[in-house]
């Protein structure tokens, strides 16, 4: 398994993240959560002309890409960035993936010799 293709695969896997961020409103939401920490939908619409409904829709797109998550607190949902958790998940998979690359190289030697 050539190592150079790993970066390409990671890029392809990240495509939904970039697609989700390829919208100014969504980018603004992520920037707000990044700068100001977790907040409710009201906290996100405050001081903007974007409707609650629109923000909700965008949050679900971001959640679908694994970039944010909503946690219910009382009657409302608090939204936060998922980046760190996702990065951990990615790193873990990269490590295991490397383990398989190595194991398969050994299998190759074993059956081809």
């Amino acid at each position: 398994m050539p190592r150079s293709s790993r970066g390409q695969r990671a890029l392809r896997g990240s495509a939904p993240v970039f697609a989700a961020l390829g919208d100014e409103t969504r980018l603004a939401i992520v920037a707000r959560l990044s700068a100001g920490g977790p907040r409710s939908i009201s906290g996100l619409t405050e001081g903007t002309s974007v409707t609650r409904q629109a923000v909700t829709k965008h949050l679900h797109v971001l959640a679908g890409a694994g970039l944010v998550r909503g946690v219910r607190r009382g009657r409302e949902r608090i939204w936060e960035l998922e980046a760190r958790r996702l990065e951990e998940a990615r790193r873990y998979l990269a490590e295991i993936s490397q383990g398989w690359d190595d194991a398969l190289e050994r299998l190759k030697k074993f059956v081809e010799d």
Binding site: M1, S34, A35, E88, R91, E95, L104, R106, K108, F110
Partner: protein, 162 residues
Amino acid sequence: MSTDRIEKKILLRAPRTRVWRALTDSKEFGQWFGVKFDEPFTPNKPLRGTLMPTFVDEEVAKRQKPYEGKQFDIVVAQIEPERLFSFRWHPYAVDPAVDYSSEPTTLIEFVLEEAAGGTMLTVTESGFDAIPMERRAQAFAMNEQGWGMQMRLIEKYLAHAA
């Protein structure tokens, strides 16, 4: 994006029968993988092996040496002659202080296909989304390419956009 599964494909320049034996004969499996099993692979029967350095690669053997003798548990799922071999295990169960037995397992599937010049082997490991996040966080060895780089790009991008 999938955080749940890994898929690998590799062309092995060897007949399918040879590859099949290397995968499903527990002794042969052990030799390239780096584990010692005293019993054959039998579907649905938990099998405990002990890690030992591989015979195939000296460098890898050196890295495996510290883990020698450590328990290694699998449960074989399916054996469909010369086509499919699958088992379950606890991924990255490297911490001797942790009892992984009550935690979810991942499924490893080896699928063989005839290919020009040899045998095409596809390996998938799936079920990672059910693995507790703290377990996943333990396995790092920071991969400087891949996701870490993507996150830094996004951070930079956000810094500009803010």
